[in-house]
């Protein structure tokens, strides 16, 4: 499987990031001003224009390598949207995309740190650790930043995890009675298609959680609530058959890459 590369700094894009969502609506406009509109969901696309500057030769080579492997705009690859949350259903922990261990109780409708009621309470009723994870169709060896708001009525310790089959990275987080955004940046060495993010609770722990987010970078951005579409675009293409490089000095390259992903 092909993936759009990260730069050596662990990011996918540089500022400014230009993004365009496009849909298609068939409209019949009547003389009275009344409209009859029908959506054509098969035509929905998202496109990005990524402007890179000061790329090293190795960074440009990785872009060029993908461009050649994809044969321009012929074949598809996976692109991780740098301005989105890679997790789906970020406030629906009971959705099927989240795999919870059987003795982990989930209570919904808890007050969250942003003033809503999108948080949940996890209670581990087992005598061993229990976890809840979501697997993304993303490369396991990329740099990721995971973040989540946590609180507990009594001081507790939980673990955030990033895992692929055969390797996992765990970080311990101490939580108190006020909401704290726990941040965990990591990358695995194992090269696999698919990576999981999750939360692991020790026996007897009860914690409130809100706003899980995974981003393909080293530091967290603002929290973005997701539903049935997240930032993993598995059907992305280059929007052009040519890739032009400008070199200003040794190891200082710049280029602009246009990508498009069909949402159907």
């Amino acid at each position: 499987m092909l993936y759009f590369p990260q730069l050596s700094s662990g990011v996918v894009a540089q500022f400014p990031v230009n993004r365009r969502a496009a849909t298609r609506t068939v409209t019949n406009q009547l003389l009275s001003g009344y409209n009859i509109r029908m959506s054509d969901p098969g035509a929905a696309t998202v496109s990005w224009q990524l402007q890179y500057s000061d790329l090293t030769d190795a960074e440009f080579a990785s872009l060029e390598q993908l461009f050649e492997a994809a044969e321009g705009q012929l074949t598809t690859f996976t692109f991780l949207d740098p301005v989105d949350n890679l997790l789906m259903w970020s406030e629906e922990w009971t959705n099927a995309v989240w795999a919870a261990d059987p003795l982990l109780q989930i209570s919904t409708g808890i007050a969250d740190p942003l003033g809503g009621t999108g948080a949940v309470q996890f209670t581990n009723t087992a005598q061993t650790t229990q976890r809840i994870v979501q697997t993304m169709e993303a490369p396991s060896w990329y740099q990721y930043c995971c973040s989540i708001y946590l609180r507990a009525n009594t001081p507790s310790t939980v673990q955030l995890l990033l895992s692929a089959t055969g390797q996992e990275s765990l970080t311990q987080v101490s939580i108190g009675s006020s909401w704290t955004r726990a941040v965990f940046a990591a990358s695995l060495t194992l090269q696999q298609d698919g990576i999981s993010f999750g939360l692991q609770l020790p026996a007897g722990a009860a914690v409130s959680a809100f706003g899980p987010q995974v981003e393909p970078q080293t530091a967290p951005g603002d929290y973005k609530k997701t539903t049935d579409l997240a930032g993993v675009y598995t059907n992305t293409r280059f929007d052009s058959d040519s890739l032009t490089l400008t070199t200003g000095a040794p190891n200082q390259n710049s280029c602009t890459v246009n990508l498009v992903s069909n949402l159907a």
Partner: protein, 119 residues
């Protein structure tokens, strides 16, 4: 029916803001000079151009998700006119495209046009 999202400040739009009122008049002119005029719309239709700048990533994401759930111009939603507080219950986005730019972490910008639908 959904509502057009507001920013974290509670505002819907930023300056410079633009609002238009649209009538549709059919004019029949006769050879000898007089004319007859016919009203096309039952009531005038409003249109708002919402230019937003200096948005943070959450605000930009909320607008992006709103565009997606509306399927561009296909959906309908309720829009409160920021000038006078009037609620227009039957509005749509005017375009099937939403372009956005994130210049920096807290410097997102986009423009959406909301139009009132005739009845």
């Amino acid at each position: 029916m959904s509502n057009f999202p507001t920013l974290k400040t509670g505002a819907t739009l930023q300056y410079p803001a633009q609002k238009a009122t649209q009538y549709s008049t059919d004019v029949v002119r006769f050879i000898d000079g007089p004319e007859q005029r016919f009203r096309g719309y039952q009531s005038p239709l409003r249109r708002w151009v919402i230019r937003l700048d200096l948005l943070d990533q959450t605000e930009l994401h909320v607008l992006r998700e709103f565009f997606r759930t509306q399927s561009g111009a296909a959906g309908t939603f309720s829009f409160t006119d920021p000038w006078d507080g009037t609620v227009y219950a039957n509005c749509s986005l005017a375009d099937d495209q939403m372009a956005e730019q994130l210049k920096d972490e807290e410097k997102g910008q986009t423009t959406l046009t909301v139009c009132e639908n005739g009845t």
